[in-house]
Amino acid sequence: MSEIVASNETILVVGGGISGMTAALEAAECGKQVILLEKTPALGGRVSQLYRYFPKLCHPTCGLEINLRRVKANPNLRVLTMAEVTAVSGDAGNYSVKVRISPRYVNENCTACGECEKAVEAEFDDEFNYGLGKRKGAYLPHKMAFPQRYVIDPAIIGTADADKAKEACKYGAIDLDMQEQEIELTVGAIIWATGWRPYDAARIQPYGYDRIANVITSVEFERMADPYGPTGGKLLRPSDGKEAKDIAFIQCAGSRDRNHLKHCSRICCMASLKQSTYVTEKHGEDGKATIYYIDIRAIDRIDDFYRKVKENPNVSFIKSKVANIVEDKETGNPVLRGVDTEGYHRYENPHDLVVLAVGMEPSVPADAFPVDVEINEEGFIEASPDNGAVFAAGCSSDALDVNRAVQSATASALRAIQVINRAAGTEG
């Protein structure tokens, strides 16, 4: 790897999701030196795992492609993947950051031809598909992955599979001796954009995510709807592989709940409204979506979207937080039980498939931040003068949709630029 040059006029962005990419690009396009660190082998974050995104229902690949083109074109921006911050010291305008880079075992020669993947036998749960499918021990994280470079799973190092992969590569791209690296960077400001993760659905005991095959999460449903996903875009029941036509969505699964996440995750109402359109898109008149909710929180311009979905006779709304789910052993149907708030009727409704609209929690747990920042009760980074020149962007600051995440990223880029200008003496 070539030497990474950084100074106190460099901005470090941690996390290469839509927020981190936006912040990095905004700063780099203003002429600042930027290093973008991403923990996984590819940029894109969770947006790249969506099938479509609201409110326009376009495919995220489109927006991602534009951003990737900007990344490739910008000489001020340096991307490091499989990299994590382990420690930060110093003050605003002059930080020293320790970074650990995990070995990819594949170098710049890779053309993404895929020969190594064919040669390898071992398979692992595919993290890009939230474990719904399998990937090989030599893999491209996803089709839009940047960099377009394969990865060798560390679990096959030292096995015959690793040698097979190396032999299959015609370009000499596989380097099985690659080692973990520790580097130290000097930077003037840090943008923290490590994003979110879905709340662990198995902890919502009455919903039986860990016991009932046909209870899945909203993030898994996104992967299912994607034609390039594990089911080829078909909405299939995990229990028997049959097409699911009558699909229930349970809102606030793990959010607004003292036993789980106290905050409203803000995007899940919109996500379920959006996903109800997948049901009609795939099945037409035969598709039925039922949304169980406490109250629908579709905000500002997004309210139009809500109204449109409400007009669809195949989408119904039940004002009730489902109390529990049991499985009908004969049909595999999850049966939802509860009492609705409009009339207090007791119901027991079977559906083909249940999607839990899981909440968003920060991807970095409050006690695991390698940098001294103020964390609020929900685990998100609070804007505080005590944070020095560490600025949160996107979902590491709050539960946000892409639109708001990108706004927050741009704001954080501007703050970082001001610090750098001060350090360089070009301001004031």
Partner: protein
């Protein structure tokens, strides 16, 4: 209608929520309910309630005083605590149900023939006598709660259970005469009398 009831209607006029907040155990939590319905759906006795907890909380806020206090609903609560465990807003629902039942009883509005209420009274009388529950006497009292004929029928139906309890020394015929007791029954009665005094003084204030 009891004096206390008239006094309370006078005092709180149209604000039943305020009345509940001031007089019912954990009543100040009622306003925190967000009407999600999890408690109602989680109650194992749910189908037998006229008004599940969620609805009771809404009725309190809507000022349906008579309907709430004379309802048999909160008497259905068996203290399983399922609702408390699951309520997303942390309402102590079980305690509120017992608080409402107790308050309705004090005001003389509780349904007279409600079996849980009758049982509670028998249980209390039985327990407070000696500080220990006299299983035999309590059982018999319950069997005959609804008349002699039904009492005999129930006793026959339950005889195997009784025999089993007797064999495993959980029940003694000797309990019919006196029965076992705590060491200091006098002390217990003194405590209970004091508690009653305090309660009555509170009620007096309203009856004026």
């Amino acid at each position: 209608m009891s004096n206390m009831n008239t006094a309370m209607i006078e005092k709180y006029r149209n604000n039943f929520l305020k009345e509940v907040e001031a007089n019912v155990e954990e009543g100040e939590w009622v306003k925190m309910c967000m009407q999600c319905g999890v408690c109602s759906g989680s109650c194992p006795l749910g189908p037998y309630w006229d008004h599940p907890p969620q609805e009771i909380f809404m009725m309190i806020r809507a000022g349906k005083r008579e309907e709430v206090l004379s309802s048999s609903s909160m008497w259905m609560c068996t203290s399983c605590y399922n609702c408390i465990a699951r309520c997303p807003r942390g309402l102590p629902i079980t305690h509120i149900m017992h608080g409402l039942a107790h308050y309705a009883d004090r005001l003389g509005l509780a349904p007279k023939e409600q079996p849980t209420r009758k049982f509670a009274k028998h249980f209390w009388d039985n327990l407070t006598k000696k500080g220990r529950v006299n299983e035999l006497k309590l059982g018999l009292k319950l069997y005959f709660m609804n008349g002699f004929g039904e009492g005999i029928k129930t006793a026959m139906k339950m005889k195997d259970v009784g025999l089993g309890m007797w064999k495993s020394k959980r029940l003694s015929i000797g309990e019919l005469w006196g029965g076992h007791s705590i060491k200091d029954t006098k002390g217990l009665h003194a405590i209970l009398n004091k508690a009653r005094e305090i309660e009555e003084a509170k009620a007096k204030k309203f009856e004026g």
